[in-house]
């Protein structure tokens, strides 16, 4: 946002807009665009993920060997990674939206923002680690 446009904002929301673009680097419309894209994207990859349970009898598909085999397939590993990233971004932003409406103090809003960003990064890092380790079996 340019300093000019900030000056032009003649209402109370002015400071809020500035404050939030400071912390999240994104405008709300950009965040929500990401939210919708990741939501629809998740729908798609989760559908593939669920359908993969049907290529063999359901029980068998969840046996240890078969699960590890899935991870070893690089395309499937990438699919799992994209599910992880999409759901983490979408889910935690969804949680942010829900929590933001509960209270309207700046401390709460800043806390919620930090919480969801940290949780998002944490979950993605931990999940990615799992995928890499499981995939590593085939290499090693």
């Amino acid at each position: 946002m340019t300093s000019d446009s900030i000056k032009n904002n003649r209402n109370k929301n002015k400071n809020m807009t500035k404050w939030f673009s400071d912390i999240s680097f994104l405008r709300e419309s950009q965040i929500m665009k990401i939210h919708y894209i990741t939501g629809v994207g998740a729908l798609f990859v989760v559908a593939i993920h669920i359908m993969m349970r049907l290529i063999m009898p359901f029980n068998m598909s969840l046996e240890f060997e078969n699960v590890i085999l899935n991870y070893k397939n690089i395309f499937y590993a990438l699919l799992l990674e994209s599910i992880l990233v999409l759901i983490a971004i979408h889910g935690f932003n969804g949680l942010r939206v829900i929590l933001l409406e509960l209270r309207q103090t700046q401390i709460w809003e800043r806390g919620v923002n930090i919480l969801v960003i940290v949780a998002m990064i944490g979950i993605i890092a931990y999940g990615t680690r799992t995928i890499i380790i499981a995939n590593g079996f085939s290499l090693g």
């Binding site: 446009s5 209402n11 929301n13 807009t17 709300e28 933001l100 309207q104």
Partner: protein, 307 residues
């Protein structure tokens, strides 16, 4: 806003009111149009939040005469005139154009002057203040927050470059009927606050501008005479702004003026997401301040494409 715990029902039975009732029932039995004149029970929410912030709300009941065309406002004024002059009501035009008599009638936000008792089809009419507004007294609520939200979207045309030759002379500010149609329904809003009181997001998030302000943001955004488009979008594109609408649609259900605030919100969102590019071009073409330069730009683009 207060959450009330007790529903203390007090029946107004002072002598004067009984007397009036007797008079009325005598009249109605003696008159030939006795079927026209019935009486119904009016339950009115009572509180005096300003004088006594700890006041516990209760309902008072009044028996009021009702004809085929009696509105809830008529009934309230009847009760106020003949039974209890302390009933707090706000009204002015009595014809659904000032927007001051909004209240919850039988559980739904409506205009008292625009709600006929015969249409309600119940023997008891319950009047409560509008939800999502702080109480002042009885059916009168505090609209400060609501109006502040309305003001925040800059509900006026802004166009410094408008070619009005002489501001002291009457001059025409042209707008084609097609351009008018883009926002006409939204300009019928009377700021009654019914949509605001029906909105589930407003109920939890006081910083949310609400359907009224957001649909007015669209009304001025879509006005071809307005030029400050990007600033308009910026104001509502905040963490408590337009994105906190969750498509409940209650606003459009209760609007007494046929405005569809939910539609305005979705249209504005499509502009914010940039999925209505062609509309933007049309809007720019129609924006008189940029008219010539943009048209030239477009022509240049077209020429380049041809090459």
């Amino acid at each position: 806003m207060k959450i009330f715990k007790k529903d203390k029902t007090k029946k107004i039975t002072n002598e004067r009111s009984l007397e009036i009732e007797r008079e009325r029932s005598n009249k109605s039995t003696s008159s030939s149009s006795s079927s026209n004149q019935k009486s119904k029970k009016l339950r009115i929410f009572r509180i005096n939040a300003v004088q006594n912030p700890n006041d516990v709300p209760h309902f008072d009941e009044f028996q009021v005469p009702v004809k085929r065309w009696t509105t809830v406002l008529d009934a309230l004024l009847d009760a106020k005139s003949y039974q209890d002059s302390s009933i707090g009501i706000r009204y002015s035009c009595r014809m659904a154009s000032c927007g001051s008599c909004g209240m919850k009638i039988n559980g739904i936000p409506r205009l008292a002057c625009y709600t006929k008792i015969s249409d309600l089809d119940t023997n008891t009419i319950t009047c409560e203040p509008l939800p999502n507004f702080p109480y002042i007294r009885d059916l009168v609520t505090d609209f400060s927050q609501f109006f502040a939200h309305h003001r925040s979207v800059m509900p006026f045309i802004q166009n410094k470059k408008a070619d009005i030759p002489d501001v002291n002379e009457l001059s025409e500010y042209e707008q084609s009927p097609q351009d008018l149609d883009k926002f006409l329904q939204f300009s019928y809003c009377i700021k009654c606050g019914l949509c605001y009181s029906a909105c589930p997001t407003v109920a939890t998030d006081l910083k949310f501008p609400g359907p009224q302000a957001l649909s007015q943001a669209y009304r001025y955004y879509a006005d071809s005479r307005d030029s400050d488009k990007s600033n308009r979008l910026k104001v509502i594109d905040t963490s408590h702004g337009i994105w906190r609408c969750h498509f409940a649609g209650s606003c459009s259900n209760v609007c007494p003026k046929g405005v569809d605030p939910a539609l305005g919100i979705q249209l504005l969102r499509s502009h914010l997401l940039g999925i209505s590019n062609s509309e933007k071009k049309i809007a720019k073409l129609q924006d008189r301040s940029n008219n010539n330069s943009y048209r030239e730009e477009l022509e240049e683009e077209e020429e380049e494409e041809e090459k």
